[in-house]
Symmetry: C2
Subunit: 329 residues, 2 copies
């Protein structure tokens, strides 16, 4: 049996990544796409999607649809996630789930009285390279873990026409890519940060953050540093530094850009070992979520995880504003 998906908007990521991934998935199919623009009919035809709706409401009212994918601009994620939940549709939302932890808590409240599943779409976490990293750490090969570093950056060319430069739409680097290194720090260290300092360089005209860096303390004096930028060359990497060695993952978030092949590098003294792992991250994400629906299973990344990730991002904004260290509760 296949989960029937509806897509809320014709965003580029839906057209180029998510819809093709549903086509590749074994337990999913796309049945409808919605847009507020009547070009949706052409797009549906091009992508072989049977139904096209000229409003998100119309799609949510289609009784044949099991699950929706939300790739809308960031500031609309909460509203349409809650609408979909209320219509009994399972929801896979693009990151960031919301703009604040408080908004994510509103989604949690909507879920309490609903049987549907909800997941924030950090597709990268489904790549097998991360399980291997956790295994290497657990084996003790790199000694005691002392620090996690991660950067996700790209250089935004066409700024004038980008919603990433619109502050009111949840623009800027932290919302766009900064949520990934924060997610990865929490996932790899397996705990939540206690204290955080963050710094941004803002675009003068739009006020969005072009580059944001964080310095986080975890229990046991473990440090995590993250960085996001929409103003620098491509990086999507993390590394874990132990007392005896280092594990590096150079294609942590977008292994799809290098053919799905992730590389895990272990450096000890001057010896370097590379291990390669293949994974189709968007397809794995679709299959994971569809399977959780089909088998009434738990999603691997829950709304509580989302709330915790948003709490860290809230703390970033707080620290950036005050110029001080912020405790995270």
């Amino acid at each position: 049996m296949k989960i029937k998906w509806g897509i809320l908007s014709t965003a580029r990521i839906a057209r180029t990544q998510f819809i093709p991934a549903i086509d590749r998935a074994e337990n999913a199919e796309v049945v409808a796409i919605a847009s507020r623009n009547n070009k949706v009919h052409n797009i549906a035809r091009e992508l072989n999607i049977p139904r096209a709706y000229e409003s998100y409401e119309a799609l949510l009212n289609d009784p044949d649809i099991d699950a929706v994918y939300i790739p809308l601009p960031n500031h609309l994620h909460k509203e349409w996630a809650i609408s979909a939940i209320q219509k009994g549709k399972h929801v896979l939302s693009e990151k960031p789930a919301t703009l604040t932890a408080e908004e994510a808590t509103e989604i949690k409240e909507a879920l309490i009285s609903s049987p549907v599943k909800y997941m924030e779409g950090f597709m990268y976490q489904f790549h097998p390279q991360h399980e291997r990293v956790k295994e290497i750490i657990a084996s003790g090969e790199i000694g005691t873990v002392k620090q996690f570093n991660s950067s996700f950056s790209f250089h935004l060319g066409d700024r004038e026409n980008s919603i990433k430069m619109q502050k009111e739409y949840g623009g800027g680097s932290l919302y766009d890519v900064g949520c990934y290194p924060i997610h990865a720090a929490r996932m790899i260290l397996g705990s939540e940060p206690i204290e955080l300092q963050a710094f941004s360089l803002n675009d003068q005209d739009s006020g969005v953050d072009l580059t944001t860096s964080t310095f986080m303390k975890f229990a046991g004096n473990v440090i995590a540093k993250t960085e996001s930028s929409i103003d620098m060359a491509n990086r999507d990497e993390y590394e874990i530094i132990g007392t005896k060695g280092i594990v590096k993952v150079p294609h942590a978030f977008r292994p799809d850009k290098v053919g799905g092949v992730g590389t895990v590098i272990v450096e000890k003294d001057n010896e370097i070992r590379k291990e390669k792992f293949s994974g189709d991250i968007y397809r794995l994400e679709v299959e994971h979520f569809s399977s959780a629906i089909l088998n009434d299973g738990t999603v691997s990344y829950t709304i509580d995880d989302t709330i915790n990730n948003m709490k860290v991002m809230d703390a970033c904004w707080d620290s950036i504003k005050t110029g001080r260290s912020v405790n995270i509760k």
Copy 2:
């Protein structure tokens, strides 16, 4: 003609690195070594050094000595540099030159009324890989420079017997290795930081910083981040991130540990180019300083540069203490 060197102390770095480098240098020779311990005679014999003194004063009184190398514990650098200058000896001091910018200014004052040359020994800067990095940046290949990142770390095993764990001796990671990434940020960006935030994790018993991170703003919204640690696996690297590409130098500070071969890696999109350069850093340092004496030339790293580097380190301690951003004047 060869510069006649005297060595102030039998420190490990003198025995294993600096004295052999003088032996390899074309314009230098070691004529004396001093220690407050009478084992100095055995050490002199082992290292084929003609004269051995049981006090630093005695060595400084030897009229045949042109220049001295100071590898004493950090808190003694200033005192013995000034004594040597007053005795008319040229001074190459191990880093950090002093413990504060104010102390470095005392050395500058001693130099005003003296014809001798003084240099803080950041040996790594003499490796040709750094000139190549500057060329690549100047060529525009990586676009506009946005950020400089650098880490220098190692895991200190025998803490009980290490002066690196003695606070009053200038112990801890920032004095020991943190001065290098700060130096490298200033050297590569070719300017001085304006503002800085720093964070440390301190050892509970000794109070020394095990790990110190900095976040620095340079003119034009260029960022530099540095890190030092005596509590993590080996790293001695820097990278420069531009709008179009990245330059990485994985053996920035200790290429001698990998046979003197430095690697400059340029990453653009998914293309990676590696260039290799050989350099004998300690020998190049000895030859540079000896040549400046022989030809009455200028040393490439002046006391003013040293004062500027120490100002950044002063700002680190200040920010660590207050938990706030610090302006650097």
